[in-house]
């Protein structure tokens, strides 16, 4: 191996204060995690971007065109217009969750999570980096599904801010949820258990395909215990100006989930649950 010149002389940093240096280091570290996550999404696009496109297209063809025509109007809109926001949100939820759970668990399984754990990046920033990756994929897939929806129906946006805030907060909630799942998971079965047996039923029963006003009283009460109902309805309100639940309350639920899950993720990282012995 070649000769080594004096260490710590190559590309040294300019004179800055410790606080500035730490802030810059954190900014670079966060950007590195986000770029790495985005590269991963694009590298395995066949697993990350193509399946939701196929699924959404099938939903629009079957529920929108074939069955939807026979259902008639719902809440004053065509069935396809009514379910389009729900289908977009469903893609955002599953992809935000799926990205973080598979990426973080993959890093645990392959042990390259140690690259981050030995680095000086604080745990809250590592959590934020993975969440940003999940949000990126969620929004990317959501955008693609929206474009597909436009091939089948006209989408009118009533409240842009509500649409953007609802999709962002929902994506963050499920990215954080995926992180918690990945922290506790010990094998690949455990990262598919929650999406298959909890997330999918909750999404289907969260008002994606129907208005809960169609349900009997007791079923409406049960449905209101499902947080996904509030997310889907807030998003739908942004498009149609119509929701089954109070939109302000929906946003409160989302913010509470974001704060609680973020605190849980940072606490799990600090304790080293699932990643440190």
């Amino acid at each position: 191996m070649n000769a080594v010149p004096p260490a710590r002389t190559r590309g040294s940093h300019a004179e800055v204060t410790t606080a500035d240096r730490m802030r810059n280091a954190r900014r670079v570290g966060f950007a590195t995690i986000v770029i790495r996550e985005f590269s991963r999404i694009m590298r395995i696009w066949g697993q990350t971007l193509v399946p939701p496109v196929i699924t959404a297209t099938l939903y629009f063809i079957i529920f929108g065109n074939l069955i939807g025509g026979r259902i008639g109007q719902m809440g004053g809109y065509s069935y396809l217009q009514y379910i389009a926001p729900g289908l977009i949100m469903m893609s955002v939820i599953t992809n935000s969750y799926g990205n973080v759970v598979s990426s973080f668990f993959g890093a645990k399984f392959g042990r390259h999570i140690e690259e981050l754990l030995v680095s000086p990046l604080p745990n809250w920033l590592i959590v934020l980096g993975y969440v940003a990756g999940g949000v990126l994929r969620g929004l990317l897939v959501g955008l693609i599904v929206t474009i597909i929806a436009l091939f089948f129906t006209h989408l009118h946006v009533e409240h842009w801010f509500v649409v953007i805030a609802a999709v962002l907060l929902t994506s963050v909630v499920f990215s954080l949820g995926g992180f918690v799942n990945a922290v506790f998971a010990k094998n690949f079965d455990q990262i598919t258990f929650v999406p298959t047996f909890i997330l999918t039923p909750m999404t289907y029963l969260g008002g994606v395909f129907y208005s809960i006003s169609m349900l009997p009283e007791w079923a409406q009460t049960v449905s209101k215990a499902n947080p996904i109902l509030y997310m889907v309805n807030a998003f739908r309100y942004g498009f149609l100006g119509h929701a089954d639940v109070d939109v302000g309350f929906s946003f409160t639920i989302m913010v509470v989930f974001v704060l609680a899950l973020f605190a849980a993720c940072v606490m799990l990282m600090n304790r080293g649950t699932g990643i440190r012995e």
Partner: protein, 327 residues
């Protein structure tokens, strides 16, 4: 300045195993330090705690004066770790692994690229920068982990068995490389099962066994404590008659090979004379094990090396038990 300071470091795993039982250890800045011990002695646990991969049960750890309890980010910034097992993403390119690691340490891309080129050239991996890391050979993967640990140019480099499984040529070139970066000021802590490696490279040594430090001193001082060495003598032809040499531990390995245990007060001339008297002609001679290996085995077997009493060798053959051997 202490590069690393451990005080009363304890670790008890959830299954009740006490991996570390209150170890104290100081490594001076600029040192090349060997941390040795049998499998399961607690070496990797200690390194894991220092590098934040294992939670300690109690005790304190300081890296260049930065406590991992109160100043973790600064402590981690001073540290580079080369783990025992491959722990990079095997689906990523070599360059991506290094640039990402630099990013995690807050090094901007432009500087990271300069350093990547420098360290990959140093470790003869520049040509492989676009290769997927999974496709690298075992030795290249080890060198990639060293480049990754050096990308932020740490003051303290910890290597956990860095040459395990690499061929002798790569191992020797790694030794040269590590010696040079140590000469340039990087403090190095090394764990290894190749005791020749520790004896060749390191100035200080600590031996850890069953969670306790049982030896911690300068390498030369530790080696002086070795009172007995075992030599293997090869004879040209079988002996004509048995030899008897009171005070010396001798054992026949086969017709033409003898193991002799010699302590500091004895000399090899007596053995050669005794062999000559029965027609024995020694054609070659070597140490049975390297000196550090011999000392290590005695320490971990609980022998009192300082007493100067003959002790059993590292193998099943115990020459001390046999003072008379037959042809």
């Amino acid at each position: 300045m202490q590069a690393l300071s451990l005080r009363q470091l304890c670790k008890t795993y959830k299954n009740g195993v006490q991996a570390l039982k209150g170890i104290d250890l100081d490594v001076e800045e600029g040192d090349f330090f060997a941390l040795l011990g049998p499998n399961g002695a607690g070496k990797s646990t200690a390194i894991g705690i220092v590098s934040s991969l294992v939670n300690k049960t109690s005790g304190t750890v300081e890296v260049f004066g930065h406590s991992i309890d109160t100043d973790l980010e600064a402590a981690k910034s001073c540290l580079g770790v080369v783990p025992q097992e491959i722990n990079f993403n095997q689906f990523e390119k070599v360059s991506t692994i290094l640039l990402n690691q630099a990013g995690f340490y807050g090094i901007p891309r432009t500087i990271a690229r300069e350093r990547m080129e420098y360290w990959l050239n140093q470790l003869q991996l520049w040509d492989k920068r676009e290769a997927i890391s999974r496709s690298l050979s075992g030795g290249m993967k080890r060198r990639l982990m060293i480049a990754r640990a050096l990308i932020h140019e740490p003051q303290l480099l910890i290597l956990d068995e860095p040459t395990a499984g690499v061929d002798i040529e790569v191992r020797r070139s790694m030794w040269e490389f590590l010696r040079r970066i140590n000469d340039q000021g990087t403090t190095i802590i090394l764990t290894t099962h190749y005791l020749e490696e520790a004896e060749t490279l390191c100035r200080h040594i600590a031996i850890i066994d069953e969670g306790r430090i049982i030896e911690n001193d300068r390498m030369s001082t530790v080696l002086r404590k070795l009172h007995t060495e075992t030599f293997v003598l090869n004879l040209r032809a079988p002996l004509r008659a048995p030899i008897s040499l009171p005070g010396y531990g001798m054992a026949m390995v086969d017709d033409t090979t003898i193991e002799v245990e010699v302590n500091k007060e004895q000399n090899l001339n007596d053995i050669f004379a005794a062999l000559s008297s029965v027609g024995g002609e020694v054609v070659s001679m070597r140490n049975k094990a390297n000196r550090l290996e011999e000392l290590f085995m005695r320490l971990v077997e609980g022998r009192d090396v300082a007493s100067g009493q003959p002790a059993a060798g590292p193998s099943d053959a115990k020459p001390a038990a046999a003072q008379q051997v037959g042809a």
